[in-house]
């Protein structure tokens, strides 16, 4: 069973809309404040990556139920330039924009499951899940 909603990312303010949506869903699912902060921060990172590197894309929030456990799935999809070297961006401290370079590896640590698919010139699709324990 899944229940979804999404936010288009085009401007910096859409990042706020995306994480607001995520926070509301997380709250409804019964995540505690710490996990809510983790989920919103993860959404913030992913949405910002879309805004910075792809220009535009979409953040989708889904509710999941698997084996009786509820969870939240964040899908960040864009049709931007893609990521040339995934291993590199998953290293701490690597950044092409002069940032901290903690974004993607940070998201991976904030969430339970993390999957990234990227094709050069076609776009990137990132799926991150957090389970309610």
């Amino acid at each position: 069973m899944s229940n979804q909603s999404s936010v288009e990312i085009q401007t910096e303010w859409d990042i706020v809309a995306a994480r607001q949506l995520g926070r509301n869903v997380a709250k409804e699912l019964g995540f505690g404040t710490v996990d809510q902060a983790r989920i919103t921060t993860a959404i913030s990172e992913l949405a910002r990556n879309i805004y910075l590197y792809a220009g535009q894309g979409k953040i989708e929030i889904q509710r999941l139920t698997e084996n009786g456990i509820n969870g939240i799935l964040i899908i960040a999809a864009d049709s931007g330039p893609g990521i040339p070297d995934i291993r590199k961006v998953m290293e701490d401290g690597f950044s092409t924009s002069g940032g901290l370079g903690a974004g993607l590896p940070g998201v991976k640590r904030l969430m339970d499951d993390f999957k990234i698919e990227t094709t050069l010139g076609e776009g990137t699709d990132i799926r991150a899940t957090k389970w309610l324990r």
Partner: protein
């Protein structure tokens, strides 16, 4: 044809308005119409009907200024744009149906009249939408200014100690403002210690952290110390998980502790006075 339409509307004004109100009340999604007091609603409806007819009779200019007034009023009442466009369409339909029933519109002039009606309704709708979007644009830009005004001011709390409370989302634009105000204020207030209070910041992601670190570095360059205060427990956990290094910072959970620490750095402390 225009004159004919206008005459029909004026002659049957009361009936048209009551029909129209009936139709608008049936619009389920819209509650703004019901909450309006009866008297005000009748007045607004009449005004609306007059506006619709004035387009048929008066010069374009007179109509434009009337329309602007009306649209602004409607915006103030909080009618949604879908509601207003529906109102315009319904009004046109009612007049058309009425004229058809009275035999003013028949098979022979049907085409001509539908064309004429289109010419009547379309510009009204267009300019209403135009006025709406202009009002929105103004609201948005005003809010942007309002937001900027409440962005980041540096408050001197003690001699040599200043606080900058950060409230709300930090985007690139605000981050720039924070940096400017911070450096400006440090120099102006001759602050030795600056406390950045992030109690009111909902999400601290890598970008926000990056801006804070940069601001603190800049503060160090102008010869003051920067302290990060108001770190909520959940924010602390997220920062650690993200792997953001704030080791070079002095951080505290509350502003109060931060102030105590800042006073200690400047060789002062708060003591209770024993009143004898």
């Amino acid at each position: 044809m225009n004159k004919q339409m206008a005459r029909y509307i004026q002659e049957n004004m009361t009936e048209i308005i009551s029909n129209w109100q009936e139709l608008m009340r049936n619009e389920k999604s819209e509650r703004s119409f019901e909450v309006l007091p009866e008297e005000l609603m009748n007045q607004t409806s009449r005004e609306f009907a007059e506006l619709m007819t004035s387009n048929l009779l008066e010069s374009h200019q007179a109509y434009e200024s009337r329309l602007n007034d009306f649209a602004e009023k409607v915006v103030r009442y909080g009618w949604s744009i879908t509601f207003v466009t529906k109102a315009i369409n319904h009004f046109g339909d009612i007049v058309f149906d009425g004229m058809e029933k009275d035999g003013l519109i028949n098979n022979d002039n049907y085409r001509g009249f539908s064309k004429e009606f289109n010419k009547w309704i379309t510009p009204i709708r267009d300019s209403t939408i135009d006025t709406y979007s202009r009002t929105w644009e103004r609201t948005v830009s005003l809010q942007k200014i309002a937001l900027q005004e409440l962005s980041a001011s540096l408050i001197p709390v003690f001699d040599k100690v200043s606080v900058m409370p950060l409230v709300g989302t930090i985007d690139t634009e605000r981050a720039r403002l924070i940096m400017e105000n911070l450096l400006d204020g440090v120099v102006r207030h001759r602050a030795e210690v600056v406390l950045l209070d992030i109690t009111g910041v909902p999400v601290v992601d890598t970008m926000v952290a990056h801006h804070i670190i940069q601001a603190a570095d800049a503060v160090r360059l102008v010869g003051a110390k920067c302290m990060l205060v108001g770190i909520r427990p959940e924010i602390a956990q997220t920062i650690v998980t993200l792997g953001i290094n704030l080791n070079e910072f002095t951080t505290t959970s509350t502003l109060q502790r931060g102030v105590e620490q800042a006073l200690a750095w400047t060789n002062r402390k708060i003591v209770e006075v024993d009143e004898a």
